[in-house]
Structures are given as C-alpha cells and as structure tokens.
Amino acid sequence: MIVADRKSLDEILAMVEGDKKILLVGCKGCVTVCNTGGLKEVEILASSMKIARKKAGKEIDIDTHVLERQCDREYVEQISETVNDYDAVISMACGVGPQFLSEAYKEQKFYPAVNTTFFGGATEHGVWEERCAGCGTCGIHNFGGLCPIARCAKSLLHGPCGGSSNGNCEINKDTECIWDSIVRKKMEQGQLEDLLGVKGAKSWKTARDGGPRRSIREELVQGNI
C-alpha cells in the first residue's frame, strides 16, 4: 500500500491561515490502513485545528467528509455539490487525492495534510517499512525475493557495498542492509551462484525516469470486461 505521514499541525495551520470555512477530506484507502488519513485521523485533525484556532483567537468552521477513495473520479464526484462552499479544502489522502480533487474542481484550493512517503507495509504495530520503488520492471526473484532497488540506499544490483556492517547499512545503524539479507539467504539456500556474474545496466525507462507513467488496459477501455 501507499504509506504516508501526517504533516505537523503547525504546517497545516500555516497553509490555510487566511481561510475560515474549511473542508477536511479523508480517504478510506491506504491512508486509513496506515492510520494517517482515515475517519479517525480526520476527526482528530479537525478537533486539533479548532482548538488551535480558538487559542489563537481566530475563527474557524470545519466540516469533515471521508471518501471511499480519492483516487477514483466516481467517489470524488460525491462532494461536487458542497465543495465550492468552502474557502479551502484539506485532503488527508496520499498525493494522488488532492490532485484528483484539483483536477475535478478547478475553482477550489486543495492542500495536502500528509506527506506521501513510500510503497510498503506494516512490520509491527505502528511501524511501516518501504518495500517497493515502483520501478516498473520487477525482478525481486533475482534477489531472493528482496528488492535492492527500493531497499538498498544505493540501489545496487551487485551488493553489498563496502559500508555494510553487522547487517546494517552505512547510512544508519537502524537501517537494514538488504544486501546482507540477500546474500545470507542465498548462502543458506546454497544458491550463491545466482548472485554472481554481471547484470546488464537496468533500463529505467519504466521507472519515473521515462516520464509520467500511464497504464492502459485495452479490454477495460473497450468495455469488454
């Protein structure tokens, strides 16, 4: 899923400083799963903003709404009748949400309340970790099922580098050296030869380097499915 972290209250307040009537829009997709922008978090942020504005002696009128998904025009349309009644709209979805909203409602101002961080999952309660870089050409089977593009600080295809120490990455002792894990797994499985040899230079054309990406499924476009 897409993982996100909420921006600080101060940053959010500063973005909408001059606005009085505000709509806070959550999302029931990924940001609900990672406890950042679902129903609960929308209500918490709304309360926090009310308290902060009250303390500062400033007026605020906040309404909240949680959409099924902000990355789907069908759901985004559900706020069409009220969206322009507000001075500003704050989205608590990942970076996709406020863009779909901005595209749908050109007259309104949309602000992001979260920082979209990575594609990953929860490794323990309250901890999420990156697993995928969305490079567009998945080859994790070549690395014991672990992705060095997303999880090595240098995206090495022939690691580990000279900074690997006790299973940790050189950049931070709290960061796992994924190449240490890849090598150990392959050694345990007696498949070290899979890592030897020189892999050709990766094509980054399918990654962000090839420009904004688009996925077209002809069968769906044509309405056959």
Partner: protein
Amino acid sequence: MTELKSGSNLEKVLAAGHFAFTGECGPPKGANVEHLKEKLSHLKGNVDAVNMTDNQTAVVRMSSIAGSALMIEEGLEPNFQMVCRDRNRLAMMSDILGAYALGIRNMLCLSGDHQTFGNHPDAKNVHDIDSMQLIAMVKKMRDEGKFLNDEDIDVPPKMFIGAAANPFADPYEYRVYRLANKIEAGADFIQTQCIFNMEKFRDFMKKTVDMGLHEKCYILAGVTPMKNAGMANFMSKFVPGMDIPDSLIKRLKGVDKKDQAEEGIKFALEQVEEFKEMEGVAGVHMMAIEWEHMVPEIAKRANVLPRPVV
C-alpha cells in the same frame, strides 16, 4: 609479457613484476591549484600513480577529472576515481572519453559514499549503474570500442581498470566472491580498503589465492598510516567499513602523544614489509590522508625507492 591494455605506468610496473606503490591525493575544496600542486610535489617520484578522489565522503571538491589533468601537467600519473553516486551513464561515458583525451590512463570504479555523510546531504543520488556495471562498461568501451548502447566509439578510451575491495565489510564470507565478480566484470587491478586487521586480511588473501584470483588481477593492499590514537578512534567509530583492532589503538595510546605519529608510521611500515612477502599481493596503495608530505619519508623507509622506470 602480454599486450598492455592501456600502457599506463602503473600497468607497466605491475606487468613487469615490480611491487607497485601508489599514492592518493584529494583535490582541493575550491579551485586552489597551487595547493594541489604543493600536495602533489611530495608524491612525485615516490609512487607509480596517484589516486585522484571523486568527491570523497560525498564532500564537494574540485572534479577528479580536472585534478587528474592537473596532475599530468605536474608530471605524475593519475588514477582517476569515478563514483556512481553523482553521474548517470551518459555523464560517465562522456567523462571517461574526456579523461582519456586528457591523457588519463588509469581509473578506479567505485559506488561512492552515500551523500548523507557529506556536506550536501539533501542531494539526490544517481546510481543509474553500480560499480560492477561501471567496471564492465569501461571494459566494453576499451575492448569492444562500443558505448553501452552498442554504438561504435570513435577512438575508444584505453583505460587500466581498477576496482575497490573491502575485506572488512560484511558479510565477510561473501567478500571474496564479490572480488571475483569484479574481476569477472573486467577489473585489471584492485585497491583494497585501508587494512588494519592483519589477521583478517591474511585469511582474505588466502581465500583469494585459493580461488586463483591473484593470477587474474593485481591486488594492491591499502595502507593508511595513523597520525595518532584519536584518528584511529575516530575512523573506528565513524568511517563506514573500517575494522581497527583494539590492539592497534592500544599500541598508539601506549606511547607519548608526540610519538604516536611515529608509532603509526612504524605499524604501516611493518604492514608494507609483510605485504611484500604475502602471496597474491602485487603492491601497496598508500593512503596518507592529508599527510602527503610524509610520503617521501614513508616510501624511503619502506624501501620502495627508487620507483621503477619501465
């Protein structure tokens, strides 16, 4: 003697069977050419080639290609370092051609320290290709006369290809295989990370020799003389991939502060003597960090002078 790949002095020295002795020099943090020349003057005649570092520890300095070209003007032979952190494949191939055009004949292919260590930690890193692929790319450019996309190169760059090896990084059991991989990719010579843990290095070299890797590639053992116990402590704690035994720190601390530099040099000289006899070691890479002026004395006391003229 087999046909030379680049004709560099370093290649000739090694091919002739001499024990190589290379040095290192960081370019200035500015365009101070005089300072660079001053540092290089201490190395002239005392080493076979000098590594010109490429924004080492991710700190911005004069480009290694310009530093290398200035070195040639001063009558020394550069070993041009290139890291994968700062350039994509276009910039790399372009700089390799430029380096060759400027007379550079040796290059060392590296991943590069992560930018979080340096003075621009907010920078975006590149890592379009990694060090293994860089080695293979330089070899392809040299031996096939082709760019990565298979287009022909009009006058291919004939580089003597170097790579690094760190026997002290983890997982240790894999290090010799990684070395073998770099040799397979096309490395002609290897310069190791600074060696302080001699016991571990002896074991690493035994594994290297057992696999016959020393016969496919020249291996230069990395030596850094310690200036004092504080430097040893600092490197042990803060420099990634360093393995500094407590016994060495104890040895340095065991003498008066004013004598610690001499003790550090003595340890380095003992290492050089052992490397001269160690099977599979073809030379020493002396990294006297910001201590270039000590190299003449170190080279003299290490009995590696005069350097062979081949």
